[in-house]
Symmetry: C2
Subunit: 166 residues, 2 copies
DNA sequence: CATATTACGTCAGCCTTGTTGACATTCCAA
DNA sequence: TTGGAATGTCAACAAGGCTGACGTAATATG
């Protein structure tokens, strides 16, 4: 009866079979998670790396390159290559910092915002359908498990990004 | 009060802010999900593609190349490159089919099983910690949302793999 | 039996996206 | 003024996707 974190807790949900099922669910679900954006990106000649950059620039406008590097966890050379094409194509604007002129602050142009919107609407649509199917309690559990799965550093970045929207 | 799928259901959990949070949680959590195996793989000179192959060969021993292609959703050229190195390195054995000699049935050798075990134990450890932190109800929700997020084809593959263990 | 199809392997070439290492520039801060 | 931080850039490389083409063996089908 008491399956909800007590002293008499049943730990049947921690068997290897359950863990394996969770692992495989992550694998297949992540493919679904990226499928719609991938199609859109391919139409525009971009890849997932562009999506990630555009997403987080939209999320925290004016963010610096270093900031973005910390969030994305890639090398500056990798990010720079992506950023360069986005700037050349007029999706991202890079402004020299007013206080610290070494820093570049990144913003989406209207064109960049349009792509971001297209991508995120597709991704939200799938997430919305999944959330609706599963129900609010399931969604709470979904989030709890995902947050517990992050590395401390990743969790820190995640929390930092969430704070922006408050 | 009634937030659990009824006619008077509250849909506050479907706001864009909640969806966005779910999307970002998937992004950061997937990094955690792959972090431990990635480290182990790097030590052995392999990549994620090898992990995936080894995982599913272990899961359904004797599976054919075509079968594996359907599960992994890559081209045969991509899979073949990975499979070739695994066979050369003595982690995977490829046996010509008895009934249909065109088919190759794939098996892990002891060496392959050892790597698989090392990888999956690391991944299970993280999943176990996350499951334990979040509790059984959360785990149920986690799975429900992930399964709802899969494409129909992916869901089919997922279900097929789950059936093996019954 | 002849032919089509399937399963698999392989060669060649291309792209994205990650990596290291090296080096230049700009500019803040001690 | 000088050290170090932030940024950009060049070169080279690797993993792992992709397409297209071709070959071979074996099965399925007419």
């Amino acid at each position: 009866m008491d399956n909800t974190r007590g002293s008499g807790e049943s730990l049947l949900f921690l068997t290897d079979a359950h863990l394996r099922r969770g692992i495989e669910a992550m694998f297949f679900a992540y493919r679904g998670f990226t499928a719609d954006p991938d199609r859109i990106l391919a139409d525009h000649g971009y890849g997932r790396a562009h999506h990630r950059a555009v997403h987080f620039i939209n999320r925290t406008p004016g963010t610096t390159v270093n900031n973005l590097l910390a969030i994305l966890g890639v090398t500056k050379q990798s990010l720079n290559r992506v950023l360069r094409t986005l700037i050349e194509d007029g999706l991202v604007e890079s402004r020299v910092g007013r206080r610290d002129k070494r820093e570049r602050h990144l913003f989406l142009t209207d064109k960049g915002a349009a792509l971001e919107s297209e991508l995120s609407e597709a991704q939200r649509a799938r997430m919305r359908a999944a959330f609706r199917d599963a129900g609010p309690q399931a969604v709470a559990g979904f989030r709890a498990v995902l947050e517990a799965m992050m590395d401390p550093e990743q969790k820190h970045q995640f929390d930092a990004v969430q704070e922006v929207s408050e």
